[in-house]
Symmetry: C2
Subunit: 437 residues, 2 copies
C-alpha cells in the first residue's frame, strides 16, 4: 500500500527517499521544456514563509475538519482569498458614477470566457432596474405590423448561442496622447466575452415585416439615459441578436437585464442595454451618441461618420503592470486578441518594442468575433523587455502601432484606439505602460 | 424625427396607426415560421396584469430615474428578480449536508456554459477552505524526482483552456427503479460545463519522470474526506488537466479551489477537488470510492471493476416539470446532450414516447467531451406528449432506453444511468417525470 502521509518535511522530499518505491534523487533545476525554457524548482514560493503550520508534513486544518455543506450558498461566490479580483473604476475619469465605467480585471483572468460578475460596466444613466414582468420590446416604424413583445414572448422564440467579445469604442481611449493608465485592466479592460443566448433580430423583423424603404433601425434603451443609436438594416439582418442570457443565466442587471442587443464585432455603445424599442426608418437618426460621441474626431476638426467595427487588436495581460514577473526563468506570456471583422488569424509577440517578432500560440477555440487567448513561452533572466503583441485577422488586416494610427487620426479622439500596446519590463520584474519610438 | 413616446396604449398599437410612417395593420396571429409553427401574438402575457403602471404608454420608473452607478457591486450578482435560479438540494437524499449534493438548475439555463455560481456541488467532507498561499501539490511514488508545487509554480507553467462537461456518476441515479424526482434539476442536474484553464497533467508527470513500471496514479483531495481515486496513466497522459480556473476566474471553493483535477469525459468523482497529492504506482489502489462506491453493482451481486467513462446521454430541459408549457402554439423544445467518448454526432427528439423520432437542431459549438445544446420546434395545441431525447456520439453509440439498461445492469446500482428520460406533457402544459413501456 502507498504511503498516505506527506513526507516528513519538504527538505526530506528534496533530499531523501520518500517511500520504498522511490529512489528519490534530489530535485534539481531541471530543464522544463526542451529548448530555451527552464523552471525554478517546485516549492520555491513556500520557502520564505515563517509560519508553516499548514505546510507539509503538517496536516492543514482543511484536511482535518468538515467544511461547509452543500447549498450553504445556493448561488456560489468566489473564494474569500480572491477578493481583489474585481471590477475597478477610475474616479477622476468621469464626473458621476451613473455615467461612468468600471473595468474588467483582465490581468486576473485566463481563457476566453469572462465570468458574469467581472464583465466591465459602462452606463450612461446608471443601472436600470427593470421588472421582467413589465418589460416590453416594441418594434415599429416602417413595418407592416408593429409589435410589442413581452419577455415571455421572446423566450418562446427560436434562439441561438454564440460567444462574442464586446468592446467599448473608448477602450484604450486614454492612451491616444501617450501612455497613461498603468494596468491592462484600465488600458484594455472595457472588453468582455461571454456566450449569449438570444433571438436573431432578423426573426423579429420578419415578424413585423420591414417595408421596402426601411433601411435603418433606431435602437433605444429603457434606462434613464434612453441611449439610442442607428443600426443599418443589413447588419441587423446579418448576425444581431436580441439577447436575454449570458453564460447560460439571465443577463446581469448591469449588462441590460432582461434584454440587450448583441451587435457582433461592433462598438459596445450600440449593443443597447435594457432594450426598449426598435424603430425602422429610411435613414440614420444621427443621435447624440453617434455624432458628438462615439465617432472619431479627425485632426481637421471633422468627425468621421460612423465607425461601427472594432478593428483587430490585442494586449498582453500577463506580465503587465498589475501582474509583474515574480521569478526568473521560464515565463509564459499570456494575452488576448480579437477582431470585429471575423476570426483572428495570427498573433505575434515582440520582446524588443517591435523590432523582432515571434508568432504566438493561439490556444482554445478560435471563433468568429470572439476573443482568442495566446501564449508565448520565453526564458527571462532579468533583462529589460519592451513587450508588444499584434493581432492579424482573416481579412489580412494587421494591428497598427499607435504612431501609425496617430499619423492618420491625430489625437483628438478618445475612440477606436487599437494601437499596439507596449509594456516595459524592469530588471526586478515590475512592468510599466510605456510608448516606444 | 421619430416618435420617441410609446403609443398611448398597447391597444392603440394593435388597432391604430402609431406614427406617420406606419400604416399599422392590426397584428394578427401570424404564422411564425413557414411550416407547422405559429406564434401567439406579441404582448399576450401582459394583458392579464391588473397593475399596468409600468406598461406602455406609461413611462416606467427605471426610465425616469438614475440607477445605481458603476462599481456599486465590484463583483456582480444576478438580478433580484432571478432569486429562484439557484442550486437546490434534496434533504431526504443524504444524511448530512457535508456529504451531499446540490443540483444545477438546468431548466433555468440555456446554451452550453454554466455560470460558476450555479455549478452543482458534490462534497464528501464539506467544502475545504484552502489558503492558496499554503496550497501544495505533491507528485511522488514511482517517479525519478518527487516534486512539490505551490500554486504560483502551477500558474507559471504552460496551460490550456478547454470547455468540458463534468457529470457525477450518480446523476439520474435515483431513477434506476422508476421515475422518482420531478424536475430535470434533480434527475439530471449533477452536470455542468465550463471553460477550464489548467496545466496538462502530462507536463507535470514529465517533470517528475514516471518510472517504467509506473502505470497508475493515486489522486487525492485535501478535503476532510481525503477523497482518493486510481487513475490510469494512459488517461493522465492523454487529456487530463491540473486546473485552477473555471470560466476565466479562479475555481470556486465548492469546485476545489485552488486546484482540481479535470478528467474529460470521465465520472465526476475522479475529478479530485482541492487536489493535494498524486502518487505514481504500478497497479490500482482500489479505494473505497472506486470499490464500494462509484462502481456498478450488477444483478448477480458482483460489481463491475471501474466504469470511468460517462456514456452518451441527453435530457430535455424545457419543457420539463419545473418549466411547464405556458402557451399553446409555437414551442421550442430545448435540451442538452453529451458524451464522454468524444463529440455528440446527433440528437433525436420523440413526442410519443419513442415510437417516432425527429432529428433535433444542434446549436452552437460542438466540442469534444462538452455539452451541446439542441432544439426542436413544434406546434403544440394541448395534446398529451411523451417527450424524449436520445443522443448519438461520434463512435456510433446510441443512448439506450432505461429498460435496455436494466435488462443488462439490473437495478442494484445508483451509478451510470444514461437511459432515455421521458417527460409527460399534460393538456394544461404541466410536465411530469414518467416511464414508458
Amino acid at each position: 500500500m502507498p504511503n498516505r502521509e506527506w513526507p516528513r518535511s519538504m527538505a526530506t522530499l528534496r533530499e531523501d527517499a520518500m517511500t520504498e518505491k522511490t529512489d528519490a534523487p534530489r530535485p534539481s533545476r531541471r530543464r522544463f521544456l526542451t529548448g530555451a525554457a527552464g523552471l525554478v524548482a517546485a516549492g520555491a514560493a513556500g520557502a520564505a514563509r515563517a509560519d508553516e503550520k499548514n505546510l507539509p508534513p503538517n496536516i492543514a486544518p482543511w484536511s482535518k475538519t468538515l467544511g461547509d455543506g452543500v447549498a450553504v450558498r445556493p448561488y456560489g461566490q468566489p473564494s474569500k482569498f480572491e477578493k481583489d479580483v474585481i471590477r475597478r473604476d477610475v474616479q477622476w475619469l468621469t464626473a458621476s458614477r451613473e455615467s461612468s465605467v468600471s473595468f474588467t480585471p483582465l490581468h486576473e483572468l485566463d481563457g476566453i470566457i469572462t465570468p458574469n460578475g467581472l464583465c466591465f460596466e459602462r452606463h450612461h444613466g446608471g443601472i436600470a432596474e427593470v421588472d421582467p414582468h413589465d418589460y416590453r420590446l416594441m418594434i415599429h416604424g416602417l413595418v407592416d405590423k408593429p409589435l410589442i413583445f413581452t419577455l415571455e414572448d421572446l423566450k418562446r422564440l427560436p434562439r441561438v448561442n454564440r460567444i462574442y467579445f464586446l468592446e467599448c469604442a473608448a477602450n484604450s481611449g486614454m492612451e491616444w496622447r501617450g501612455a497613461q493608465l498603468n494596468g491592462c485592466q484600465y488600458t484594455h479592460g472595457m472588453i468582455h466575452s461571454v456566450m449569449y443566448t438570444g433571438v436573431p433580430l432578423k426573426l423579429l423583423l420578419e415578424q413585423a415585416g420591414v417595408k421596402p424603404n426601411g433601411k435603418w433601425l433606431l435602437v433605444e434603451g429603457g434606462d434613464a439615459s434612453g441611449l439610442d443609436r442607428s443600426l443599418p438594416l443589413d447588419k441587423a439582418l446579418d448576425d444581431c441578436l436580441v439577447a436575454y442570457r449570458m453564460n447560460g443565466e439571465m443577463l446581469r442587471p448591469e449588462q441590460g437585464y432582461p434584454v440587450r442587443l448583441v451587435v457582433p464585432g461592433w462598438q459596445g455603445n450600440i449593443w443597447i442595454k435594457w432594450l426598449r424599442r426598435i424603430e425602422v426608418g429610411d435613414e440614420p437618426w444621427y443621435t447624440r451618441e453617434e455624432t458628438s460621441k462615439y465617432t472619431d474626431l479627425m485632426p481637421n476638426g471633422k468627425a468621421r461618420k460612423f465607425t461601427f467595427v472594432m478593428d483587430a487588436k490585442s494586449v498582453i495581460t500577463s506580465p503587465s503592470p498589475q501582474a509583474p514577473i515574480r521569478n526568473k526563468g521560464f515565463l509564459v506570456i499570456s494575452g488576448l486578441a480579437w477582431s470585429g471583422r471575423g476570426k483572428v488569424a495570427r498573433v505575434d509577440v515582440s520582446l524588443d518594442g517591435g523590432r523582432n517578432w515571434r508568432t504566438a500560440k493561439i490556444d482554445g477555440p478560435v471563433l468568429d468575433k470572439s476573443l482568442v487567448r495566446f501564449y508565448a513561452e520565453i526564458e527571462w533572466n532579468g533583462e529589460p523587455l519592451l513587450l508588444q503583441s499584434r493581432a492579424m485577422d482573416e481579412t489580412g488586416y494587421v494591428q497598427p502601432t499607435k504612431d501609425e494610427l496617430r499619423a492618420i487620426r491625430g489625437v483628438n479622439s478618445i475612440y477606436h484606439n487599437n494601437g499596439i500596446q507596449t509594456w516595459s519590463v524592469k530588471a526586478n520584474g515590475e512592468v510599466e505602460n510605456v510608448e516606444v519610438g
